[in-house]
């Protein structure tokens, strides 16, 4: 197409002979509405996805939690039903043999302990864990505090890291860091408070209610050697599956069970369950996207309708233009452009309206409103924008294509002679 032809097409596009203002306004509104629908649906989908992923990470990223179970089959002379036991020594044993894990920690938990500060006493559960537990389980201290460090563990210090819900019950508005609390009557120094976090999925209670002391301190205070569970972290999520196989083999050899025995260990592989969640949110987004596209299609039908009406009304004018020498694409392309123009204009309005709505929603405080908190912040991302623009463009072209085709089929000889 030559530059002159483009000029002709643009001239016709801008010429009053082709515009239909009043009805266009309604149709543009329909497209804007469709765009708002698609953008909001996808933005909420994205917000929910972000929130779920953050919440998932609240417990720690790329980790597996492993509990001991009972064997379901006889193995090397040992009867079935044997109780598997993890001991404190096993941590060092596993760290040495399973270098593919970035971190391995053991946990012991005591329920029904009491925690007192001043005259206030509450019931709490307390976990003894290695110092690496902080990073692995995403136990991030709030400002001014810290998590357990290697020295605490080595020297069996009586230090305690408290979940924020418990800390608030015990201390109210007072700053707990550096204060002394009594754990079952034994004094402990508060070294840190868990920073608020969103946590989806937990075992033995959410971290906000959990208090953590060094594993070595726990062992000497309660005289226990048995671990409740292990937590293992990998650097690359792809290595989790292989790592767990090796874990079963290693522990199987040490504790005496068949590595294939599914009952001997209970494993919660968060990498695997995240995959399900990612698939779930992706599916949700596809579903929301389809609904949005359908809504937009309704607007697109409106545009096509208008364009058909224009072609019908302008049949004679189109015939005239053809008679005086317009090629058919000089007729069809302005129609396509017009349809595209209406669609994109509607889309632009829709984008403005959606942005405004999302901005207003972002002003609503989420604190304390669990439903909104869980739903997350609706987010307009670049992929959503690109997707919506593509859908709009496709609908605009499609809505223009068929009416334009009809316009091109007009026979000037038929239309010009008769009124």
């Amino acid at each position: 197409m030559t530059r002159e032809e483009v000029k002709i097409i643009l001239t016709l596009f801008f010429s009053a002979a082709f515009l239909r203002k009043k009805r266009a306004v309604l149709t543009i509104a329909a497209i804007a509405w469709g765009t708002v629908a698609i953008l909001l649906l996808l933005a909420f989908g994205e917000g929910l996805q972000n929130r779920l992923l953050t919440a998932r990470k609240g417990m720690g990223e790329n980790i597996s939690v492993v509990w001991p179970g009972q064997t379901s089959e006889a193995y090397k002379g040992l009867k079935e039903g044997k109780q598997i036991i993890f001991r404190v020594d096993d941590i060092a044993f596993l760290r040495e043999r399973l270098p593919e894990f970035e971190g391995i920690v053991g946990e012991m938990t005591n329920w029904g302990t009491t925690l007192s500060y001043g005259k206030k006493t509450i019931t709490a559960f307390v976990t003894g864990a290695n110092w690496q537990y902080g990073d692995i389980r995403n136990q991030i201290p709030d400002k001014g505090g810290r998590f357990i460090n290697p020295q605490d563990e080595e020297e069996r210090k009586r230090v305690i890291f408290i979940g924020y819900e418990r800390a608030e019950e015990l201390f109210g508005k007072e700053d707990p860091v550096g204060k002394e609390v009594l754990l079952n009557g034994t004094p402990y120094t508060v070294i840190g408070i868990l920073k608020k976090k969103l946590q989806m999925g937990n075992y033995s209670g959410p971290d906000s209610y959990r208090s953590v002391i060094p594993l070595s301190t726990f062992v000497s205070q309660y005289g226990r050697q048995e671990l409740d569970n292990l937590v293992l972290k990998v650097g690359d999520p792809k290595t989790m599956e292989g790592g767990l196989v090796r874990l079963k083999q290693t522990l199987g050899g040490k504790c005496g069970f068949n590595p294939e025995d599914t009952k001997a260990l209970h494993i919660w592989d968060t990498v695997n369950s995240s995959k399900y969640m990612v698939n779930f949110t992706r599916g949700l987004n596809i579903f929301l996207g389809i609904i949005g596209v359908l809504t937009l299609l309704v607007g697109g039908t409106g545009i096509a309708n208008i364009m058909y009406a224009v072609v019908k009304e302008k049949t004679k004018e189109i015939g005239i233009l053809m008679a005086i020498g317009a090629r058919s694409r000089w007729i069809t392309l302005p129609f396509m452009l017009q349809s595209l123009f209406y669609t994109l204009l509607g889309g632009a309005f829709g984008l403005l309206i959606s942005s405004a709505i999302i901005f207003v929603i972002s002003l609503i405080p989420t604190e304390g409103n669990e439903a909104i908190e869980f739903l997350g912040k609706p987010t307009l991302s670049v992929p959503i924008g690109i997707f919506t623009a593509l859908v709009l463009g496709a609908i605009g072209l499609l809505a223009g294509h068929f009416p334009a085709k009809r316009a091109a089929q007009i026979e000037p000889a038929e239309t010009l002679r008769y009124e």
Partner: protein
Amino acid sequence: MNIPFFRKKNNGGDGNGIAISMDNITKVYDTGKIKVDALKGIDLSVKNGEFVAIVGPSGSGKSTLMNIIGCLDKSTDGKYELSGELVSGFDKERLADIRNRKIGFVFQNFNLLPQITALDNIEMPMIFGRVPSSERKQKARELLAKMGLSDKEAAKPTELSGGQTQRVAIARALAMDPKVLLADEPTGNLDSTSGSDILSVFSELNDQGSTIIVVTHDMALARRANRIIEIRDGRIVSDQKTN
């Protein structure tokens, strides 16, 4: 069968003084169930500068002939050369170009674009003919002046009288300096005063050298032509020079 003497050579120019040359042109409308022979072999030659009236009763095929002369329709068979260009084999797009460059249409119902001004209407064929913008405006103004409508430049067709509208239409038809001015009942929708007014315009244009073909019922108009061709039942039944 007569073979036009110039056909052996197409000089691509003005066709050696011949504007229109038709050789055994037929047109069959095939609706599937019935076939209608609208034109049954038309041989016609029109020289440059002629003023030809085509007359005939309704259904005689004169509209069909006019559509084929104007390249709005294609013949079923036969050869048609328009100022030396063999147009009978052209496709839709090339026919559009031919209409733009070689034919100026004047219709019974004027057929101006109602939303745009008189001047813009006259410019429209020149837009399609890629005439530069400044040249377009100047030419359109000249033509309006020639039609005595310089003061109506910005008027929309609805603001003009019938006679004025038809003058604008004639100005538009002349915009690309066509080889043939083709008019279909140009006075049919006009009162007698405006009608004779338009007739004078045609006579004047013919005196200045324009080739004009008019399809009409109006014998007053037909008598202005220097040649009257009568069509009946898809055939030319008479072809007479007037004085």
